[in-house]
């Protein structure tokens, strides 16, 4: 029973991480049709910002380092929108996607050139590394927090999308952007808000990824975001609830396989999962909550 609860928490925290990232991808995609392959670099930027905060400003208090990571990711997401994605906003979706892909390669290699190949250590707050004992149960603080923060962030996002004018406008823009503009709502503002939210969610994920790894390297954003992409496809690409469901489903699948696969084939875990998803998509090409594909791209 304890073992089961422990694994459930694992699945919840890992799934939460994927859900946060997949949500960020889905929000940007639903509002402006951009497949943001540079999303992973928001995590990396958050990580390096935390590293620099320690190195340059000597920030020691881990409670201060965490917001630095989140704010850097938000700032960077908005910056990318302004300098890189606004010029291709009206272009076909492939152009925007390849643009994002190029940006991602540039950022990874800039980190290689200017910071170096080797991972840079970022101190993690000690209390984050502790376990809490509940009865006979030992729960790591990081995981409890991650699960809690994810659920909190998703709840806040739902409230935001339902109760603020800009949130409602973002939902409307997902289907019909030009009519949103006819309401006098500025397109730039809607898009910028979408990027800021995706940055916020990526920043939160970055904080927890950093807490687990204790170091930042140029390619750290890749794997989590690949998983997030897959999660978003499983949930139904572009659907926000789909992103959350897909993220948690992937987290549960990974933790279950991790716990049950014999060690000789444990290395194949991701291959098993992706193949299983391929079979799922054979029967339900549009994902769990997606709409049937219309053989055309959304713009």
């Amino acid at each position: 029973m304890d073992y089961f609860l422990q694994q459930a928490l694992n699945a919840l925290s890992l799934g939460g991480e994927y859900a946060l990232l997949a949500l960020g991808l889905a929000i940007v995609f639903s509002v402006m049709g951009l497949v943001n392959f540079a999303h992973g670099e928001l995590i990396t930027v958050g990580g390096y910002a935390m590293f620099l905060a320690v190195l340059i400003f000597g920030v020691k208090d881990p409670l201060l380092i965490l917001p630095v990571g989140v704010l850097a990711a938000i700032f960077f997401a908005v910056l990318l929108e302004r300098v890189a994605f606004r010029p291709v906003r009206a272009a076909p979706p492939t152009t925007g996607m390849l643009m994002a892909f190029g940006i991602s390669i540039i950022l990874q290699n800039s980190a290689l050139i200017f910071v170096g190949t080797r991972p840079k250590a970022v101190p993690t707050a000690e209390w984050l590394m502790l376990d809490v004992n509940i009865g006979s149960l030992r729960m790591p603080v990081v995981q409890l927090l991650e699960a809690g923060v994810t659920i909190g962030a998703i709840t806040l996002l739902v409230v935001f999308m339902r109760n603020t004018t800009i949130g409602i406008a973002m939902r409307a823009a997902a289907k019909d952007f030009s009519t949103v503009r006819l309401m006098g709502i500025r397109a730039d503002r809607v898009v910028r808000t979408a990027f800021a939210i995706s940055g916020l969610l990526a920043g939160l994920a970055a904080v927890f990824i950093m807490a687990r790894r204790g170091a930042v390297d140029p390619f750290m954003g890749f794997t989590p975001v690949l998983k997030a992409f897959v999660a978003a496809v499983v949930g139904g690409f572009g659907s926000l609830p789909g992103a959350v469901i897909g993220g948690f489903a992937l987290g549960i699948a990974e933790v279950t396989l991790q716990a049950t696969l014999p060690s000789s084939v444990a290395g194949f875990r991701d291959a098993f999962i992706f193949s299983a998803i391929a079979v799922l998509l054979l029967f339900r090409p549009q994902g769990i909550l997606g709409e049937r594909p219309d053989f055309g791209e959304k713009t």
Binding site: V35, F101, N109, P218, L226, F229, P285, F295
Partner: protein
């Protein structure tokens, strides 16, 4: 099947260019440079294979190098001498450590294995559209990499697989690249290719012929995999030593950048992009290694080649999203320039409205 003369003309022009590069390297270049040109030919074949799928279906493909990896490892496992396998691959499954096929069987065998994998992956792929299709190709690349890394008994895992017979030559690679151009052009301008391109441009028309389009897309997918498997076999039989990281993101980025910057909607674009990016790449590699230039020693800048590829893609997308060449083939390009000249002359005489 009849081949349009324009296709032959365009292929001949591009083929001549490629043959020229290949044979001047054969005649005049040192072995080190011949090696660079061989790798260029392999990359060109990859880019052509990528064009067959991406250019006609308008779906970004991140998984092509996965097929190349499968073919390279397949030919390695089949053709490597038993003597080497005894030490390097003693625990291979299915009794493969005791098998050594002549190339005459090993090469078609490797290609067939790759195509069988492509067949099953293709079943999933053609049902996907747009973004999910692209993510699926990316996931495929990762799956291949994970398997190559972890199936240690068969692939030696992260350690290099060595001892593959070195049998490929620059002249073979050049000849295959030339034939590749012709095949890619024939497919693009065949009835299938034309239908495929029309349906990827127009969603409504595509829906009307939905099922048929899936079949056409499947054909493009398989042909693309054939190109990639040939590239993988050539590569393995030339370098003799391979490892999983030879078939991962670096090569994916490089070949994608080549196709995108040249213009993915034409075979001419694929060829031009491969040449332009390869030239730039050699310069960047030179600088990356921190050379002495006029007495100054430049610092080593690890990551510069990657930066270069990213920059190529970003600038391409920002300023010329159809690539250097655009959607037109070389012979159309020539024709439309002639036309352009004529209409320019016409408009300069007309009074300003």
């Amino acid at each position: 099947m009849t081949v349009k003369s324009s296709v032959l003309l365009g292929s001949a022009a591009l083929g001549l260019l490629i043959a020229l590069i290949g044979f001047s390297a054969l005649l005049f270049a040192e072995p080190y440079h011949q090696r660079i040109v061989f790798i260029f030919m392999v990359n060109l074949i990859i880019v052509l294979g990528l064009q067959v799928f991406m250019g006609n279906c308008d779906i970004t493909h991140f998984g092509h190098i996965g097929f190349m990896g499968i073919a390279a490892y397949a030919v390695a496992v089949l053709a490597t001498p038993i003597a080497i396998k005894k030490t390097a691959l003693a625990t291979a499954p299915f009794g493969l450590s005791g098998i050594e096929l002549p190339l005459f069987f090993a090469v078609p065998g490797a290609i067939a294995i790759t195509l069988i994998v492509a067949f099953f992956v293709g079943l999933v792929m053609v049902r996907q559209t747009g973004v999910p299709a692209t993510i699926a190709t990316l996931a495929f690349l990762v799956v291949v990499h994970v398997v190559l890394l972890n199936w240690v008994d068969l692939t030696r895992g992260p350690r290099a697989f060595y001892g593959i017979p070195i049998k490929a030559s620059l002249s073979t690679a050049t000849a295959i690249a030339v034939v590749g151009v012709l095949i890619a052009r024939m497919f693009r301008d065949s009835r299938w290719g034309v239908q495929l391109r029309a349906s990827s441009e127009d969603a409504a028309a595509a829906a009307a012929v939905g099922v048929r389009m899936q079949r056409l897309r499947f054909a493009a997918w398989m042909l693309s995999a054939l190109f990639l498997s040939v590239a993988g076999v050539l590569f393995a039989l030339f370098v003799g030593t391979i490892s999983p990281k030879s078939f991962y993101f670096e090569l994916t980025f490089l070949t994608l950048a080549m196709l995108i910057i040249g213009g993915m909607h034409s075979v001419t674009g694929a060829v031009v992009g491969a040449i332009v990016v390869a030239l730039g790449l050699e310069v960047t590699r030179f600088v990356e290694n921190g050379p002495d230039i006029a007495g100054f020693e430049l610092p080593q800048m690890f990551g510069l080649t990657g930066f270069y590829l990213g920059a190529v893609i970003v600038f391409g997308m920002a300023f010329r999203s159809e690539g250097i060449v655009g959607p037109q083939e070389i012979e159309e390009w020539w024709g439309s320039r002639q036309q352009g000249k004529q209409s320019d002359a016409g408009s300069s005489e007309a009074p300003n409205p």
